[in-house]
Amino acid sequence: MIHIALPKGRLGEKAYQIFKSLGYGCPEIEEDNRKLIFENPENDVCYFWAKPSDVPVYVERGAADIGIVGKDILLEHGSDVYELLDLGMGKCRMAVAGIRGHRPAADKTLRVATKFPNIARSYYASQSREIEIIRLNGSIEIAPLLGLSDVIVDIVETGTTLRENDLEVKAEILPISARLIANKSSFRFADREIGLIAEKMKELVTEHD
C-alpha cells in the first residue's frame, strides 16, 4: 500500500484529481466526512490531508511514502527526501518586495520580514548583505508599510496584493512550484510502484506544457 500525503487546500485537491485520473482514486476522500485517513484497498493506495508545511515531515519520517509539496516549503524546511518531479502546478516566485520607489540605505542592516527565514538568510548570504530577520507567520505585506521592516521575502503569484498596497518586487529569488517527493527508504523497496506513479505524472505534466 502506497501512503500519500496531500497538502490541505487548492494544491492538494488539484493533486488528488491528478492521482485519480491516473487510476489512484479513493472514493472515501470525496465523501463529506470527518475522517482523516482514506484507504482504497482496490488501488492499494491510502491518502491523508496534512498542513502543507507538514507534508515533508510525514514523508521524511516514512509516515507517507510520497507527498505533494511546494518548493518553498522544501527549501525552507530542508527535508531529506527524494524530489522526483516538478509538477508545474502552483507556480509562483519567491521574491524580495518593498515599498514602491523606496531604496533602503545600503550601509544600514537591512530588516527583512519573512515567513521563510532560511531562504531569506541564504539569499542575502549569497549577496554578502547583512540582515536582521523578523519572523512573521502571515500577512507579511503589511510589515514594510508599518515600518516594521525595510523589505519582505515572500511568495508572489500575480503581484496584485503588492501593487494594491504600493509595494513592488525588488528582486526575484527563485521560481516556485509543486513537487512530488518520496521517502528515501520507501523508494528503495517500492521503486517500481513509486517510479510508475512518477512516470505517469510526468507524462501528464509534460502533456500540459
Binding site: A182, K184, R188
Partner: protein, 368 residues
C-alpha cells in the same frame, strides 16, 4: 539456554550479534573514551554527519567534545604499516539536534579497514555491511555507488566547485528535472547532460545496470570505476549476498573525502538509512597518511522503528499472601526455568496483561 536466541530482538541483542559477526572475520575491537579533542572535529567538520557537537572544558582547560564520531578517532591514530588496521567498534556517539537542541546518545556500531585497500578487502567490507543488515532484518537493501564514477562525469562537464556541489545534491535527491535545468544553465553538451541526469535515475540490480553504466563512461576514471564495481559485485555474488545489492547513485557522499565505492543500507520499515559507508582514502591523505581506508557505521537507534515491540513486561504473575511464603521462591525459580519472565506481587493492583496468573497457596501454585 541461549538467552540471546530466546530474548526478543532488541538493541542489546543486535549489538551482540554484530560484535560476534565482526569478530568472526578477525576484526579487532576498538575502544575509545567518551571524549575527544574538539579541534579534531573542528578541522574535519565536513566529514561529520551533522548536528551540533557537544563541547565542554576539560580539567586542564582544553576544549573537549562528547564524541560525535568514531572513524575520525580511528584514523587519527592509524599508522602507515604493513599490517592493515581492521577494527570494529560499538560505541555511543553524542549529537545535539540542529533545530530542537535535544542532546541524544546514539548507539553506533561500525567497521574500519585502514591499509592497502584491494578489491578483496573492499568486497569483505561490503559483505560485512550486508551481513550486518541481515542481522537486524530479513528485508534489506544495500545501495551502492562509486564516487570515482561521479567525479569522472563531473570532471568531463568542467563545473565550478559550487556547481559540482549543486549537481551532487540533485543526484542525491533524484531530481532529474533540476539537473537538466542546471546543465542547460551551464551549457553542458547534450550527451553529457543525458549521462549526468541518468545518474539520478539509474537504480536496480547491478547486472541490469552495468551495461548502462558502461555506456555512460566518458573517461578513464569512469571506466575504472565500473570495472571496480563489477569486480566487487562478482565477489559478493560468490557468497550468495548479491541479491540485496542495488546500484544507486543517490548514496553519493561528500566528494572531499570519499573517493571510491560508497554505500548505504536500508531496512524495510525504517524511514532512513541505517548503515552508511564507503572508501575514504582522501581523509587519510588529509592526515598525511599513505594508506587507503574503507568502512561503515550502523545506526542502531533508527532500528527501533522497525522492531515489533509487543513487550508488555512479564509473562507470568504470581500472587502471594505475605503470611504464607514458605516455598514461594523455589516455585518462582521453577517457573523461570523455561525462560518465562515471572513477576511476583502480593496483590493484583492494575490491569496489566499476563499470559498466566498464579496464586501461591499452601506451598503450591494454583492457576487463576
Amino acid at each position: 539456554m541461549d538467552l540471546i536466541r530466546t530474548t526478543a530482538r532488541s538493541e542489546e541483542t543486535d549489538l551482540l550479534r554484530l560484535q560476534r559477526l565482526y569478530a568472526r572475520y578477525g576484526y579487532d575491537k576498538f575502544r575509545m573514551s567518551k571524549f575527544e579533542d574538539y579541534t579534531l572535529y573542528l578541522q574535519n567538520k565536513d566529514f561529520l554527519k551533522g548536528g551540533n557537537i557537544i563541547t565542554f572544558n576539560g580539567p586542564d582547560g582544553r576544549l573537549l567534545a562528547l564524541k560525535q564520531d568514531v572513524t575520525l578517532s580511528i584514523v587519527k591514530n592509524a599508522r602507515d604499516e604493513a599490517t592493515p588496521c581492521k577494527v570494529y567498534y560499538t560505541e555511543n556517539v553524542y549529537r545535539a539536534s540542529d533545530d530542537t537542541n535535544d542532546i541524544r546518545e546514539i548507539p553506533q556500531a561500525g567497521v574500519e579497514y585502514v591499509g592497502q585497500v584491494d578489491v578483496y578487502a573492499m568486497s569483505e567490507v561490503l559483505l560485512l555491511a550486508l551481513e550486518s543488515l541481515s542481522v537486524v532484518s530479513e528485508r534489506y537493501i544495500l545501495g551502492v555507488s562509486h564516487m570515482g564514477f561521479v567525479r569522472g562525469l563531473l570532471d568531463a562537464a568542467d563545473f565550478s566547485m559550487d556547481v559540482r556541489r549543486q549537481v551532487l545534491a540533485c543526484i542525491q535527491n533524484k531530481s532529474a528535472h533540476e539537473l537538466h535545468a542546471l546543465c542547460r544553465a551551464h551549457g553542458v553538451e547534450a550527451s553529457l547532460e543525458e549521462k549526468l541526469c541518468a545518474l539520478s535515475t539509474v537504480f536496480g540490480k547491478p547486472e541490469d545496470c552495468f551495461p548502462t553504466l558502461e555506456g555512460m563512461a566518458v573517461n578513464d576514471a569512469t571506466e575504472e570505476a565500473v570495472r571496480e564495481l563489477r569486480q566487487i559485485y562478482d565477489l559478493l555474488c560468490e557468497t550468495g549476498h548479491g541479491e540485496n545489492v542495488r546500484i544507486d547513485f543517490s548514496v553519493a557522499n561528500d566528494m572531499q573525502y570519499y573517493n571510491g565505492v560508497t554505500f548505504q543500507g536500508f531496512v524495510d520499515g525504517t524511514p532512513r538509512s541505517v548503515l552508511s559507508g564507503g572508501r575514504y582514502d582522501d581523509l587519510l591523505r588529509k592526515f598525511g597518511r599513505k594508506s587507503g581506508a574503507i568502512g561503515f557505521a550502523v545506526y542502531l537507534d533508527l532500528l527501533e522503528y522497525g522492531r515489533n515491540d509487543t513487550d508488555g513486561g512479564a509473562d507470568v504473575l504470581v500472587l502471594y499472601d505475605p503470611a504464607d511464603v514458605k516455598g514461594l521462591a523455589g516455585a518462582v525459580q521453577a517457573l523461570q526455568q523455561d525462560g518465562r519472565r515471572v513477576r511476583v506481587q502480593s496483590e493484583r493492583t492494575d490491569d496489566r496483561a499476563y499470559k498466566t496468573v498464579y496464586a501461591f497457596r499452601e506451598g503450591g501454585l494454583v492457576e487463576l
